[in-house]
Amino acid sequence: MKKGDRKRRILKEIKTNKFLYLMFLPVLIWYIIFAYVPMGGIAIAFQKYSVVKGIFGSKWVGLKNFQTLFADPYFFRLLKNTLLINIYGIIFGFPLPIILAIAFNEVKNKHFKKITQTISYLPYFISVVVVASMLIQFLSTEGVVNGVLQALGKEPIFFLQESKYFRFIYLASDIWQGVGFSAIIYLAALSGIPQEQYEAATVDGANKFQKMLYITIPCLIPTIVMMFIIRLGSVIAVGHEKIILLYNPLTYETADVFNSYVYRVGLQDMKYSYAQAVSLFQNVVGFIMVFAANKITRKLDGTTLW
């Protein structure tokens, strides 16, 4: 009796919303094939995967790949490099867009503001291959940077061949690409501050610096906290796309991160199972962190923010 009821309800639902199901169907199929089938492929991390035998025929080895990974001295290097790039990225890269947004907020000339803002977003839309190519050109031994050093009477520096420069080059170019664009969200938050607050402060005799200190920054704090938590959530991940364009065996010591290692060991050397174990480790830790960050921001969002 009840079963029939349920069946009828489902049929009715499908009938009334048939076009919604129809619309969503291609999307669902895409997600199954290109997101969830690959997720099943995670299993190879627990196998000795062979391309010939496939995922159903390959031998299961339990946690062996993970044991190898945690015993690998390389593991700590990957962990260290991944975390350091993120931590330095937070220390040097995180405050800059905030400062920039505050600076933009003080500009009263509309044309100047519009032109400079437009310029500041531009690098964000330039491809990673172009940015890496520019870096390689500028930093090569014959490049313009070494040209300046030479003119100053200094020895040329092999910037991309020495591991001690890698993090700086990577992060400086990241900041160069992203600072203007990241400022947008803070600018949006700033535009939400009621003008009356500033006017009242003017009446009280506050100057612009004081207004920035006592009105602008406090108004930005919720956005700052939110962005900071989101940023912390991705501290275990550094994308491989720019790394693999800029690194080489001489700089692996500081440049190699989880994702670039997965690419090199998995996709280049075709040690699929071991690389997938590395990848799974990173994805699970990353998932937990992003999930936690999301929970925290939700909570803040619901109660104190906006």
């Binding site: 919303n17 919604l20 619309m23 003080e106 172009v130």
Partner: protein, 292 residues
């Protein structure tokens, strides 16, 4: 006392302008230098005579690059991937976003979860590559078009937008007998042009700039987009013999000027359209950040 306050304030304002101007110079100078270097003679570039403007002006580098047919093929491929790919992106995004915006849809929660979960967790590079391989999609243009067909992030933005449109529009159309497809095509989409433009632009830029999966999935040089060709010219000099000889013009390696010309050619379309579409870029960034 009044003047003391003014000095502090002036310093602060000066610092604000100073920061903005320094940033703009830091951003523009590399581009200007690169264009100038690509238009200078090789010897002038090698001797670091180029500072701001071209020295010993010559368009030789562009002539050499333009002579190489591969770059035009790659350009054509990139345009194809960008145009067709963006259309696929838009279609998939709207087809996903519209049902998800309807509270009356019974499968809404489940489907929403299926999408959002992929933003947090995925198989990673290797299972994705193996899946493409097992599907027989390696070395095909279809692979490039389909692998990034939809981004859950933009679906959410679009869904939020659909939710913000008043229900009364749909109700009155329904009374006149319209179904969901008609409502989407005739009412919802025409009301969504600004956000569609912004999202299409972001998808298109992503398509134009993308290189990693194109590099992994495509072997045939004739199907490669221009980003991968640039990567091969400048970064790993991994080109077939005839290409190499076409570009080096008999020399040992690619001259600096030719590499600069290749970079400029790759980046130019984005830089050229950018000022005109600037407002869409910014509005796109804002729908993403504010509504998230």
């Amino acid at each position: 006392m009044r003047s003391k306050i003014n000095i502090g304030e002036k310093l602060y304002i000066f610092f604000c302008y100073f920061l903005i101007i320094v940033l703009c110079i830091t951003i523009l100078y590399p581009f200007i230098y690169m264009v100038s270097a690509s238009l200078s003679s090789t010897t002038a570039v090698m001797r670091n005579k180029v500072v701001l403007w071209p020295v010993e002006f010559t368009a030789e580098a562009y002539r050499v690059v333009a002579q190489y047919k591969g770059i035009w093929t790659a350009y054509g491929n990139t345009i194809f991937y960008t145009v067709v790919g963006t259309l696929i992106n838009l279609a998939f995004t709207i087809l996903a976003a519209y049902p998800l915006s309807k509270k009356r849809w019974g499968a809404r929660k489940v489907m929403s979860f299926i999408l959002v979960f992929t933003m947090w967790f995925g198989g990673g590079q290797i299972p994705f590559y193996l899946t493409m391989k097992n599907l027989g999609l390696l070395d095909s243009r279809i692979a490039v078009l389909i692998y990034g067909a939809v981004s859950a992030y933009y679906v959410i933005i679009f869904r939020t937008h659909f939710e913000s449109l008043p229900d009364s529009l749909e109700e009155s159309a329904r009374i006149e007998g319209a179904n969901d497809i008609t409502i989407l095509m005739k009412i919802m989409i025409p009301l969504s042009k600004p956000i569609m433009a912004a999202i299409a632009l972001y998808y298109a830029i992503g398509r134009w700039n993308s290189y990693f999966w194109e590099m992994m999935l495509i072997q045939d040089e004739k199907k490669l987009p221009v980003q991968v060709i640039l990567q091969r010219i400048v970064i790993n000099s991994q080109l077939s013999e005839d290409v190499a000889s076409a570009l080096t013009a008999g020399q040992q390696s690619f001259p600096m000027t030719i590499k600069f010309a290749a970079i400029v050619i790759t980046a130019l379309p984005i830089i050229c359209i950018y000022p005109f579409l600037q407002k869409y870029f910014v509005s796109g960034a804002l729908v993403g950040s504010v509504k998230e």
